[in-house]
């Protein structure tokens, strides 16, 4: 079953077209990675799917319903949750209070404080600590936990590994199976291409807002990925 269908969307920042005709279908249990150089439009895409910024044209469907004109909080109720770039926790709230903000429009499902605390074993001891006293990487982990608290069907993660120690990145990737086994799907942005190719069922490569390459990692030629990632004329540098 297709949980998320994005059909030929354009996204503008003022006069600048940041995304052009982007399409993808993400099925239940599927993990899809969006890769691309800085400025390719990855974060814009994630924010457009989450409803933080409007699309200029095209269509976004969640569970078969058109959500293109719904606002971000309405999309959360439909099962979309975003881990935004830059963490964006509420600095005046504790770790646990930040997690609970994710449950404000909680849907039925496996994720609650207990399951998030199981996933990030260090959190229970720090639950009452003000989030501004957490390290950058700890804040990133709380942002992921907060998104899970809504029990999303579609989890969007922008720059998953940013600020995280390698061991934590591995733990989070290992938990993807646990997340999708409950009928969820994941669309994530990853700067580390080899990591994305190793983890994802499908990879979509953006360059200047356009899809240059898409497919299952096993079917992709590394040189094609490199050309798509950096543009054929730059050769990677």
């Amino acid at each position: 079953m297709t949980l998320l269908r994005i059909d030929a969307i354009d996204v503008h920042h003022g006069l600048l077209r940041a995304i052009t005709g982007f399409s993808v279908a993400v099925d239940e249990g599927e993990v899809v990675s969006v890769i691309g150089a800085n400025g390719a439009g990855k974060s814009t895409l994630m924010r457009a799917v989450a409803g933080s910024i409007p699309v200029s044209s095209g269509r976004v469907e969640v569970n078969g319903d058109d959500v293109t004109r719904l606002r971000a909080h309405q999309r959360i109720a439909r099962g979309v949750a975003l881990v935004p770039e830059g963490r964006k926790l509420f600095p005046s709230l504790t770790l646990e209070e930040n997690l609970l903000t994710g449950a404000y429009r909680r849907r039925p499902g496996p994720w609650d404080l207990d399951t998030v605390y199981d996933m990030f074993g260090w959190m229970p001891d720090r639950r009452n600590q003000n989030s501004r006293l957490l390290s950058g990487g700890e804040q990133q982990a709380v942002a992921i936990g907060r998104a899970l608290m809504s029990n999303p069907d579609i989890l969007l993660i922008d720059e998953l590994s940013l600020g995280l120690a390698p061991i934590v990145v591995k733990q989070i990737y290992a938990s993807f199976q646990q997340i999708v086994v409950n009928g969820c799907a994941i669309l994530f942005v990853e700067q580390d291409v080899s990591q994305a190719l190793a983890i994802a069922d499908e990879v979509v490569c953006l360059l200047e807002g356009r899809t240059m390459l898409a497919g299952r990692p096993a079917d992709l030629d590394p040189s094609d990925v490199e050309s798509a990632y950096f543009g054929a004329t730059t050769g990677g540098h």
Binding site: A37, N38, G39, G86, W122, R126, Q129, L133, L134, S135, G136, G137, E138, Q140, A141, E159, S161, L162, G163, L164, A165, P166, I167, V168, K170, Q171, Q191, V193, S194, Y229, F230, G236, H237
Partner: protein, 248 residues
């Protein structure tokens, strides 16, 4: 005998029940590039805050070129020659790139007009930002934002440069450009302490690697040896695969 560029003696700091520095001692000689890795919450950025003067340690001493600066404010330490970057670059977005660096050259390095202008212009060239000097900082892409973060720190004319995850979020070729920049600064005689999770960037640049966990150093020495250390693998890298990938 030349004093170490940076010496930390028995630094301790806690936030409530969380210990972020636990009797930490560390010496960095002039012109060395030291990399620091460690799990999230190990106390790495707090360490930088105590070195640069944004946070006072509960106990212990910070010496710069043999001078005790522990009770000096951040601006005084900047004038002493400490420059630092922050994990999330927050330039003055409405100012130009040049003006951003000029702020540091005047307020932190204490230079007057012509000297400050010269330093800011030279710093931008050094950091590969000459072509975008007159653009608003808010219009920069991530690589140039990171470069500007380094340029602002260099604008204070430091002897000791503290880099906090400047490679995060960059593509591999962008990381390579940043490594070239850091290696160039090192070649010019700067002492560098670099906190980073992009381990291959550190391996391409640093002379020495330390791993911090729970506010203590669990390993310190040759970078390859530190990454092979079982406690570093347990605490930071995890097991299968990561070490081999990072050492390639």
């Amino acid at each position: 005998m030349t004093a170490p560029r940076l010496e930390l003696r028995d630094l301790s700091k806690r936030f409530g029940s969380v210990i972020v520095a636990d009797g930490l001692s560390l010496t960095v000689p002039p012109n060395q590039a030291l990399g620091i890795v460690g799990p999230n919450g190990a106390g790495k950025s707090t360490l930088f805050a105590m070195i640069s003067g944004e946070l006072n340690p509960d106990r212990g001493t910070v010496l710069l070129d043999g001078v005790d600066v522990t009770r000096h404010r951040a601006d005084v330490r900047a004038a002493h020659g400490i420059g630092r970057t922050f994990q999330i670059p927050r330039p003055f977005e409405g100012m130009t790139v040049f003006e951003n660096v000029l702020v540091y050259a005047t307020a932190a390095a204490g230079l007057r007009k012509a000297e400050a202008y010269r330093l800011a212009a030279a710093t931008l060239e050094r950091c590969g930002l000459g072509d975008v000097a007159n653009r608003p900082a808010g219009a920069l892409g991530l690589l140039n934002r990171k470069r500007l973060e380094v340029a602002r720190a260099l604008g204070s004319n430091p002897q000791l440069l503290l880099l906090d995850e400047v490679a995060g979020g960059l593509t591999d070729p962008e990381v390579a450009l940043l490594v070239d920049l850091v290696n160039g600064l090192k070649a010019e005689g700067l002492t560098v302490v670099w906190i980073e999770h992009v381990v291959h960037a550190l391996l391409a640049s640093v002379d020495r690697l330390a791993c911090l966990a729970g506010g203590r150093l669990v390993a310190d020495g040759d970078p390859d040896d530190v990454l092979k250390d079982p406690s570093v693998r347990d605490l930071y890298l995890g097991h299968a695969g990561v070490l081999e990938e990072d050492l390639q």
